[in-house]
Symmetry: C2
């Protein structure tokens, strides 16, 4: 039976997404979703969409959407690719920019999808261990065909200094994908590098700051030849009609997105203060989540005890990440419930 | 610059989708869309969908939708995979079931995406020329890791005899994907083979008979190990929340779909009679389109002259297909406009 399946696929495990509980009582702080709804413009776009139009194929190249994105970033539509979530775009990069005997690089720890993409392609995965404080640690002789760099990084929330990123892009011999999924929550971004360097792509998503994880829309900006390669190998109609319309509406309401981001950042400051007061080690976050180390007891234990109280955070077992928890910033009320629960657990010993 | 791009990707052209004109006056008979809207249940599902829920990721494994599909076909959800259109599912098959030194087979002519999928994987494409009447012609010693068989075939509309298909599946050493995109318009289907043979997958889409080309939903039914392999390598959240809800609504209204199909089949009979009366050679169609050879003049010329009159049909230049046109079945009114235009052109000489 298994002889029908490609050996490398048979041998691999696949990516494990964060849990999606159906119980509405669960306070869900595990997958970096927004606790707030998307722009009202999205709801209006959905209401005004005529179901009748769904009989027709979507624009295969999502031109209206790409024009909007290009205008936001001072690029042309030929610099912009849109995908069925960032995940599709990352997977396309792994197929467009790496020969069969090539290598894909990424930091460890980072987005746990990257090694899976290398497995699917059956190419060499070349993880690079971050330093003791999860800081940048790139050896001068490091080589790969493609490097996925999440900045701000997940699960640590740390943003790398732009000068370092820029210097790396300038000397790296392959394609660098700067995955800026969380960058709207950060102090700076690297979009200009995508338009300056031939080998740099900057990836964005509507899943986090635009509160549209359920819509599946990611986009990438970069030089025309790299973008054209992604177009060649994408599925013919990779972004459906509804998503094109809803994403256009969301991107057209920048003020709403900025406001959501400010609310999250305010809650982030408060939560960091509360957790530090309780003795947690909290890494400096430039994202919509916190990477924390509990003051006593194991992270696994705290994860389980919070879960018993219907508070779901993210725990990555095994390796260095097992000493930490990743906590999405929710509403003020949700974060109070979290800190109250932690306090109660600490008092109970 | 091009050194960043995988050589096989740099060398390939990509798939060319049928034209999507924006002029509403165009009678669009070129991409096998439905001339009728989808079930009213789809509109209701969209209206009742709360935009607020889009802040959350979709169910990564589309369980409710797979349960519905399983029930429709007497299968279990573990026999069912759903994708972002059939195209995603076909691409996943090319990655799951073919080693790097393997081969992908398909009939020629058939769906022009298949050779593109082989190019993207940089594996051997092993096309098999159909007979003079586009009939089945499979040599006994034919080998490949994966065979894509569209049945009813596109662009010919011909359905292969089930006994032949069954015999091929039984002796073929690789995986057979029976792409039944058009099967709801046909006299029989091969779904039972997917549940009987370990190496057979049957692919369906909501793009044609459900009138939802703009939604992007395809599904595949087959043995548990093959389906599990597709799940391992798919994008984490490949089907968005809205599509899952709308597809569930459409699949739950089988009566509406059956009624649409009957209307198309009635119009198909009438159009065949009209075209044959004008001397066209019309192949026996089990689909929502016709494969026709004009009685005089070139197919290219007729394509151009119809186009000048805002009637768009599909023309595949080069090779054997250049003598034919593929015409989607539209409404009765649209098909009268087509046959009237052809008559006028013939009279004008």
């Amino acid at each position: 039976m298994s002889s029908y399946i490609k050996k490398s696929v048979a041998a691999m495990q696949g990516y494990t997404p964060g849990e999606q509980p159906t119980d509405p009582r669960v306070i869900k702080l595990n997958t970096n979703e927004s606790p707030y709804p998307p722009s009202p413009a999205v709801g209006k776009a959905l209401q005004s969409l005529k179901a009748e139009t769904l009989r027709l194929y979507p624009d295969p190249v999502s031109l209206a959407l790409r024009r909007k994105i290009a205008a936001l970033h001072g690029a042309t539509p030929d610099n912009v690719f849109v995908g069925n979530g960032s995940d599709e775009t990352l997977a396309l990069c792994s197929r467009a920019f790496v020969e069969d005997n090539g290598a894909i690089g990424y930091f460890e720890p980072s987005y746990s999808l990257y090694p899976v993409l290398a497995q699917i392609r059956a190419v060499t995965a070349r993880p690079l261990e971050l330093g003791s404080e999860f800081e940048w640690a790139m050896p001068a002789d490091y080589q790969a065909n493609l490097f996925f760099m999440t900045t701000p990084n997940a699960p640590t929330g740390i943003q790398y200094h732009k000068a370092l990123v820029c210097a790396f892009c300038a000397r790296f011999k392959g394609v660098v994908v700067l995955d800026e999924a969380y960058v709207d929550f950060a102090r700076e971004n690297c979009m200009d590098l995508a338009l300056e360097y031939n080998n740099v792509l900057v990836l964005r998503t509507l899943s986090k700051s635009y509160a549209l994880a359920g819509l599946r829309l990611g986009y990438v900006v970069g030089s025309v030849p790299l973008i054209a390669a992604l177009f060649k190998i994408k599925d013919s109609y990779n972004v459906d009609r509804i998503t094109q319309a809803a994403a256009l509406a969301a991107l057209s309401d920048q003020a709403y997105m900025r406001n959501l981001v400010e609310r999250i950042k305010t809650t982030r400051r408060q939560t960091i203060a509360d957790l530090e007061r309780m003795g947690f080690c909290v890494f400096p976050s430039e994202s919509n989540f916190l990477w924390v180390k509990p003051p006593r007891g194991s992270a696994a234990d705290l994860y389980r005890r919070l879960r018993e109280r219907n508070i779901l955070v993210r725990y990555f077992p095994g390796g260095r990440t097992q000493d930490y928890l990743r906590i999405t910033i929710g509403t003020d009320e949700q974060m109070r419930a979290l800190t109250d629960a932690i306090r109660t657990l600490a008092e109970a010993g």
